[in-house]
Symmetry: C2
Subunit: 254 residues, 2 copies
């Protein structure tokens, strides 16, 4: 599925822009000229990671903007994934696939049954992985990665009026697909949407109650037993398909 | 999401059954008594990998069937995944997640742009991985794994009258979700359904033409660039959700 419009992409900091010139950092020059072995005159796609992208041409120390570029892959709604940190390297797999599937914000949470206790160094590694993946799949937003917080703290930080779905194992309640289609069929798309996926042992009943009190709806991913690393991708695949107008929901704006 | 009804599950060969007794092989006894550290009297779920499962109790050299068990996770339609073999260990990741998502048959294919040239030893490793995953997620079918064949040979082996979808990158044609909902909304569910996902560089135009001539419909997974390991999971998540009655398609039979 690797039909990529640009072979080379780079995320820059908005500070680097001076008019139509993007002043390259030593690290970026090393990456472009030594790792990718590009030369002056090569065309690359520059992205600010916050929704803007430019087709650019390389000069020895800067890149010159040729024009704006509109990537086609962004969803019309900012999707947040709240995920109980999986065991081992599970979160890395989730971050990579969630970034591909269009997530805009990932909030790793520590729930009662979460076994993983990530070291602080992990956060930096995760952030790098998200940025690399966003670059590779030509996202115009680099997903924002929150610092791990407890489930109860995470619940106090939810934005108001945002549809939020707590994925439940097996069939226990309405299907996520149906809830999403109903939401997207309303006259106005919500600006954001939240999907939460529990740990290996599931949410505790108290955590589920807390979530419902905070406005979450229970949503089933169907009758199969999914690992913590697979459940968020199944959920995000449905979110993306419905937000792009599938399932009879109206086509998204813009 | 690990809400598993049985903590211990084992796939057996139908030959091992004698009346209500399942004669355990030396390898199974080692696994149950030394790896899992179970003792006689422990209850386990036995599965024949072909759709039947039994709640059983352990004796030193055999397991006694207590009664049949109906897993809830099987889809009402046998889903085949045809996948161009991804680079590196990509197929392992796909096999694990596809098994979780309910696939019944996986056919690895070698397309023109497939880089991977798997060694014969791989097939055995893949088969073991599929069986382990099916056990872990309590599938009553162990997905069948075909031997790698070329795309053109694979196309000559398609069962007749089976809805078949060739996943395409970006939005180039109708959305897979909409095609699936239309198919499942017909008066009769098809007995089987095929999803095909291409290699890192995509199908060649000739391969796409061949597939369409063989009855495949082009189906979009949306506007994002998905890796070869992510695209099949996105597709299978949609298949499972629709086959379970999501998206306004009628509830499946049985």
């Amino acid at each position: 599925m690797g039909n990529v419009a640009f072979e080379h992409r780079l995320v820059i900091n908005p500070d680097q822009r001076q008019g139509d010139q993007i002043i390259l950092t030593p690290g970026q020059k090393h990456y472009l000229y030594h790792v990718l072995r590009l030369g002056p005159g090569a065309q690359i796609l520059l992205m600010d990671g916050q929704g803007q992208a430019w087709l650019s041409v390389l000069y020895p120390a800067w890149a010159e903007i040729l024009g704006p570029y509109t990537p086609q892959g962004e969803l019309p709604v900012a999707v947040t994934l709240m995920i109980a940190i999986p065991k081992g390297n599970g979160l890395e797999e989730v971050l990579r696939q969630a970034t591909e599937l269009g997530v805009r914000y990932v909030s790793p949470v520590v729930s009662e049954r979460t076994i993983a206790r990530p070291s602080p160094g992990r956060q930096e590694r995760w952030q790098r992985l998200v940025q690399e993946t966003a670059q590779q799949c030509e996202r115009s937003y680099v997903p924002t990665l929150g610092a791990p917080v407890s489930w109860s703290v995470a619940l106090t930080q939810l934005p108001a009026q945002t549809p939020a779905y707590l994925c439940t194992p097996r069939i226990a309640g309405p299907l996520l697909l149906d809830l999403l289609i109903a939401e997207v069929s309303r006259p106005e798309l919500p600006p954001a949407l939240i999907i939460a996926v529990g740990p290996e042992g599931g949410w505790t009943p108290a955590e589920t109650d807390q979530a419902q009190a905070a406005g979450f709806r229970l949503a089933s991913l169907g009758g199969r037993i999914l690992r913590t690393v697979t459940a968020p991708l199944a959920a995000l695949a449905l979110v993306a398909a419905v937000l792009e107008g599938g399932g009879g929901a109206r086509r998204p704006r813009g």
